[in-house]
């Protein structure tokens, strides 16, 4: 016998897992940025400092979408808004 609350909690756990699929995008994006950064350093080793800072900045911005997914997952797990609707 599945209670209403149990069903909501189970679906929230699955939803949190699905929300973390958002981590794929930033991973690919950061990898591309790091690859181009490495090739830029290889072409122009003198500009290592500014390439590094530009790369880190771009990676941090690319990471934001993944963190939105993370925020959704954390909310579903620890501050579930759906349980109040029962």
């Amino acid at each position: 016998m599945i209670t209403d609350q149990g069903l909501v909690l189970a679906c929230s756990a699955i939803g949190a897992g699905i929300a973390m699929i958002a981590g794929i995008g930033p991973g690919i994006g950061q990898g591309i940025a790091a690859g181009y950064g490495a090739s830029a350093v290889g072409r122009n080793p003198g500009a290592r400092g500014s390439i590094m800072s530009t790369m880190l900045l771009g990676q941090a911005v690319a990471e934001t979408t993944g963190l939105y997914g993370f925020a959704v997952a954390i909310i579903l797990l620890f501050a579930n808004p759906l349980l109040g609707r029962l």
């Binding site: 880190l56 900045l57 941090a60 990471e63 934001t64 963190l67 939105y68 954390i74 620890f78």
Partner: protein
């Protein structure tokens, strides 16, 4: 975040330590308050020590190691700010950026010292994001006057998107910092909760080194950098050093 307990004694949320009443409301003294107070006290004591060293400095003698370190830090912050915001207006922001840098650095690394990072509380990061938001628009109106508002309506039908874009700046800034620090906190708490006692002596050190120190430093750098970039955008376009 609530005050849930996770896996026995491991907790990842903000925990209330002391409960008291204020104007009829029940308020908690949370781990965030304690961490921020400790960090602020650390910074204050460091500032007083530096002030004392600077005042006692004798220009005829070589400066000591402490004074040299402090000077290097100040010069690094000045160079960082002036390099990103231009030499004309950048100097006015060096103090704010330096303070932000020191505070964020210490609070992101608080996990190493056994505290819960204050930046893993959305209240703290949202306040920092809103500070950036007000800095952007205060300086925008100061340097570009009415153009700062009218440029939102340049292609008129795109105005709603531009306004949402302006509002998204503090949200994405604060969520980025919060999410990064919180994900580190959650990961470390899970590892502490799952591993047997023996492994706990070795393994978390690497996690702390990566998630607290490295990731914390990168996020500090990114927050300061983005604040500078956004504020520098509002300066007059004639400033060619940007």
């Amino acid at each position: 975040m609530g005050t849930e307990r996770f896996a026995g004694e491991i907790s990842i949320g903000v925990n209330g330590v002391l409960r008291y009443k204020l104007f009829g409301q029940e308020v908690f003294l949370t781990t965030t308050h304690i961490g921020m107070t400790l960090i602020t006290l650390t910074l204050l004591i460091a500032a007083l020590l530096v002030n004392r060293a600077v005042r006692r400095a004798d220009w005829r003698k070589q400066p000591g190691r402490f004074l040299n370190g402090a000077e290097m830090l100040v010069e690094a912050v000045d160079r960082f700010t002036l390099g990103n915001m231009g030499t004309e207006h950048g100097g006015a922001f060096a103090n704010y950026i330096g303070t932000l840098f020191l505070f964020l650095m210490l609070s992101n690394m608080a996990g190493v010292f056994g505290l819960r990072s204050p930046t893993a509380d959305y209240g703290v990061t949202l306040a920092l994001g809103l500070l950036t938001f007000f800095l952007i628009h205060y300086n925008g109106i100061r340097y570009q006057k009415a153009k700062h508002v009218t440029k939102l309506f340049r292609p008129f039908f795109l105005a709603p998107i531009q306004i949402i874009g302006e509002i998204a700046v503090p949200l994405s800034l604060s969520l980025r910092l919060f999410g990064n620090v919180l994900s580190g906190t959650v990961l470390i708490a899970l590892v502490y909760g799952l591993l047997p006692r023996v492994l706990l002596l070795v393994l978390p050190a690497f996690l702390h080194a990566y998630l607290d120190v490295f990731s914390g430093a990168v996020q500090t750098y990114v927050f300061c950098m983005l604040t500078m970039v956004f504020v520098a955008q509002t300066f007059d376009r004639r400033d060619e050093t940007l």
